[in-house]
């Protein structure tokens, strides 16, 4: 493909065409760096190999943040969403999250379109099997077909392909995911370069033929009638009809079949899987064994697209043999006669512990090498995309000789995730959860642009049109907030709420039962989105202010930077474990140091003493 540069002039190479790789490649190219995306099968870029949904609790915030920074995930899903819904609406402004089911083929098609229309970006087919390294720096990659590509910055986004192995009963296959070859050579190459690897496991449920499902025997979940968009810059309009989802549940017969066939499970009976799976996404085997007291488990039947013949059986991830899977499916109300189109399977793959990364996602070991996505032990499209975006931005900025972009824990879920990864590492596939964010009152769906668009703009990723739109939105928000505070509500009651004569619109908004739509009459015609955002700011002002105070307080103690050159060698007061971890992980701040397991508060205090001390006389 001709993209106006020769491959030997690439500044950044991205390996892998999943959600991480796509964000990385686009970000890099958009920053103006000649970028090569090397992927095994260019036609299968950005498939959604597991569940069909994007977003959800905490993940929805990630998608918003990606969008605010200038990434593409939000815009793509907005163009192919078949069922969108807000979650947690009654639980609080900070945890309100958008989730949408995608038309899977459309998602992949749109992603590929975006990539193809991007200047500075060239997609090449290839399975990378080795890294070209010189003097502790990355220089390029070598593919199984003998081709080599050179660049000073390489982003690895290999997903589950690294040493990938799939399991269906006793049937074990070497594959990266369904029907695709794994990357065996690259896993070896990484180990030879001194990167430790560990095995993780995840899984996917069976897909069924939608024409064989009795939807009248299941509970229906209706989609939103209002258009719900992830991107700040998507027109508020669904691209196609909205489809319902369905809920059914397991029963004693299902559980009996699981128990009866446990000896055929590669995880339980056969003991073939050594990798650690995610606790928050248990297989149906896990659910039946570990939660034996639950008489039923909910199962979610979700479309995979407008015209896709398959439905996704959510909550039914399994690695039992295909015939057992079918028998289990037939016990579920609505699926009594279902046809299974594809069996579920478990996949085991290599990950490289993310504790060997800087908070820029560059490896300590090799200058110019960046890791993102499942390679770092995360799970989920959104987690991968968010890391890909940061890795892509930083690889490109390094190629340009610019400072990297870092996000703090109080700025973004992305910051929380990366800090968790590089300081604590992972014991199981890492999923973004709201409870991981200590300052979530300020990390909301609604204010992602306020938090991050200026950073995306400064990094060079937010284009003029989007920046203009953001500036107008910010001005409107300020105006509306001021208007709410200065305008009298003018009525004595709204619903059950009554007011004093002088009460302002803001006073009315502070009542828990009232929302912007209830007071809109007093401030005139305004876009709902802006009004609702202003309402959140006003309603929860006290909580937001408290959080900001807590953030400032923590920043004074823990925001202290530890210079890259800081030497832990001579500090005998540090415990041996702490010294080794600090030397290997080189945390960027005292706060990051304090979060490394095994580094005690006294260790942090000692580093603090050294950082505070005047340089000793020579």
């Amino acid at each position: 493909m001709d993209r106006g540069f020769r491959s030997e002039d690439a500044g950044v190479i991205v390996v892998g065409g999943g959600h991480a790789g796509v964000e990385a490649a686009l970000a890099s190219a958009r920053l103006g760096v000649a970028t090569l995306l090397v992927t095994g099968e260019p036609q299968r870029i950005c498939t959604l190999p597991c569940n069909p949904s994007i977003g959800g609790s905490a993940k929805g915030q990630l998608v918003r943040e990606i969008d605010a920074l200038g990434g593409v995930m939000g815009r793509i899903i907005d163009r192919c969403s078949v069922h969108a819904r807000f979650l947690n609406e009654s639980k609080g402004p900070a945890v309100r999250a958008l989730r949408a089911q995608a038309d899977k083929p459309a998602y992949a098609r749109i992603a590929l379109d975006v990539l193809r229309n991007q200047s500075n970006l060239c997609i090449v087919r290839g399975m990378v099997e080795a890294l070209i390294v010189s003097a502790g720096e990355i220089r390029g990659v070598a593919c199984t077909d003998g081709s080599k590509y050179f660049a000073r910055n390489v982003v690895l986004a290999t997903g589950t392909f690294l040493g990938g192995k799939t399991f269906r009963g006793s049937h074990v296959q070497s594959e990266g995911r369904f029907g695709e070859a794994p990357a065996i050579g690259l896993a070896h190459a990484l180990r030879e370069l001194g990167f430790p690897t560990r095995r993780l496991k995840t899984g996917t449920p069976p897909r069924v033929d939608r024409t064989s499902v009795h939807i009248d025997r299941m509970q229906m979940q209706a989609p939103s009638s209002e258009p719900l968009m992830f991107s700040y810059n998507s027109a508020p309009q669904f691209a196609g009809p909205q489809l319902p989802c369905f809920i059914t549940e397991t029963n004693a017969r299902t559980h009996e079949i699981v128990r009866k066939n446990l000896h055929l499970s590669p995880l339980y009976g056969l003991d073939l899987i050594k990798g650690i799976g995610p606790r928050y996404c248990p297989s149906i085997e896990d659910k039946v064994i570990k939660f034996a007291h639950n008489p039923t488990h909910q199962i979610f039947i979700e479309p995979e697209g407008w015209d896709e013949p398959t439905w996704y059986v959510g909550g039914f991830s399994t690695s039992l043999p295909a015939e057992v899977q079918l028998e289990m499916l037939h016990t579920l109300p609505g699926l009594e006669n279902v046809q299974m189109i594809r069996a579920g399977y478990a996949v085991e793959y290599d990950m490289v512990p993310p504790t060997q990364l800087r908070d820029t996602l560059e490896t300590h070991r090799l200058k110019g090498l960046y890791h993102c996505g499942q390679l770092n032990g995360t799970s989920g499209y959104e987690e991968a995309a968010a890391q890909g975006l940061i890795a892509g931005i930083n690889a490109a900025r390094a190629a340009q000789g610019n400072e990297p972009v870092r996000l703090r824990r109080d700025q973004a879920y992305i910051g929380v995730m990366i800090d968790d990864l590089v300081t604590k590492g992972v014991d199981e596939p890492y999923r973004m959860l709201t409870s991981r964010a200590e300052h979530r009152v300020v990390l909301r769906h609604d204010n992602a642009d306020t938090r991050l668009t200026p950073i995306g703009r400064a990094a060079g990723l937010v284009n003029d049109a989007d920046w203009q739109a953001f500036s107008e939105r910010s001005a409107a928000l300020e105006q509306v907030s001021a208007l709410c505070k200065t305008t009298r509500i003018g009525v004595r009651t709204i619903g059950a709420e009554s007011f004093d004569a002088g009460a302002s619109v803001a006073d009315a908004l502070r009542r828990p039962t009232l929302n912007f739509c209830d007071v809109a009459f007093a401030v005139g015609d305004l876009p709902d989105e802006i009004g609702e955002r202003a309402a959140i700011e006003i309603k929860f002002e006290g909580y937001v202010r408290r959080e900001h105070l807590a953030i400032e307080k923590a920043a004074r103690t823990f925001g202290v930077t530890i210079p890259e050159t800081f030497s832990y060698e001579g500090i005998t007061a540090l415990s041996k474990e702490a010294r080794e971890k600090l030397r290997a992980q080189r945390p960027a701040t005292l706060g990051a140091a304090s979060r490394i397991p095994g580094v005690t508060p006294s260790d942090v205090a000692i580093i603090g003493v050294y950082l505070h001390r005047q340089p000793a006389p020579a």
Binding site: G92, Q298, Y543
Partner: protein, 448 residues
Amino acid sequence: MFDDTIAALATPPGKGAIAVVRVSGPQARALASRLFRSRGALEPRAATYGTVVDETGKAIDRGMAILSIAPQSYTGEDTLELQVHGSPVVAREVMRALIASGARNAGPGEFTRRAFLNGKMDLHAAAAVADLIEAQTRSGARAALANLGAGLANQVRALRAQIATILEELAASIDFPDEVPDPDTAALDARVHEILTALHRLQHDAEVGRLVREGITVAIVGPPNAGKSSLLNALLGEDRVLVSEIAGTTRDTIEESVAVNGLQFRLIDTAGIREHADRLEAAGIERTRRALESARVALVVIDGSVPIGPEAQSILLQTGKRPRVVFVNKADLGDAGTRTLNGVVHVAGSVYDARSIERLRAALADVALEGEHPDVERPHLASLVELDAVAQAVASLTQASQTLRAGHPPDLIASDLAQAHAELGHVTGDVAGEEILTAVFARFCIGK
């Protein structure tokens, strides 16, 4: 590095020749100019004689002040040292004035900790300290256990676990909304309240424990010549105080200890509360007011043989809403006063009648502990840091409850619950992060 100012009593609590109160932090200088009056300005690192006053400018005691300016001080911050007379009442009053003016109670070892974090120790000392902390961190939970006793530690742990359970349920319902039902707000509030009630109980026990340990202060107040000093003597069972027939003889407060039913009482005899032209007398009256402020129980002595005068009435009014015992003296000499006192009298009799004194002792014990019979064996929270932590947890949980009652969404209580959880971890030694440092330095004597 630190933006708050800490204060602590550096000498052992109780009676000594002098009490030393230390202050460290950015406000030390401002506190010195607010709470210490001297002829000349304070010279850094020089002892200056003057008057320690409270936040309203009222004199507490005469004493010395030494101001050290950062970084030339033990902690590396501005520090102030106040030396006053070694009365527990005076020391407590100085501490109270400091807290009221913006300082906060130092945690155990916090001065040393600041010195450490501000790089005031040489590296050998810092390393030695660090080794100690390290050892202490490891044994933190064990040490806390030893302090609290297993029963109390487990009680606090159980409360902490209850908070954690609510946090987990909230997190589960937020992160897995499809699978986990929404939390029931009313039930949440009830659970928060259950924890609050238990914490209030701990605070109450601690207060009783403190009273048992430190003794219960009783201010003997009443009009001149009502027989206050005679009563003190009677309670003490010996002639300690000069008794005079001339009203207003007792010019100084007198503090004496006496054990009643296994409880230690600290009796403070005062001058009569009366406006008086005599300046010395006026100071005595001021002291009476102060004694009333710092005492837990007011022992009001009234001459029952004469009609109730305005002074007696004012004292009765002044003490009406606090734990008090009203003793009507000289009942054997007439009932002109007793007749008009309806329902407020605990004991009517005479200081010279042993049975009256016996009844008075019983009434004192009863009122002091609000009718409770303290189980002195029952473990209670004793350290200021532990109590501060519990108070913080109570504040956070109260805030959480208010949020729920205002009809706000449940996620908004998460940070308050997390705060309370961390604070209780402080008490049990199950602490993470920054808090541990505070706890581990607890082995250092405060105020060093």
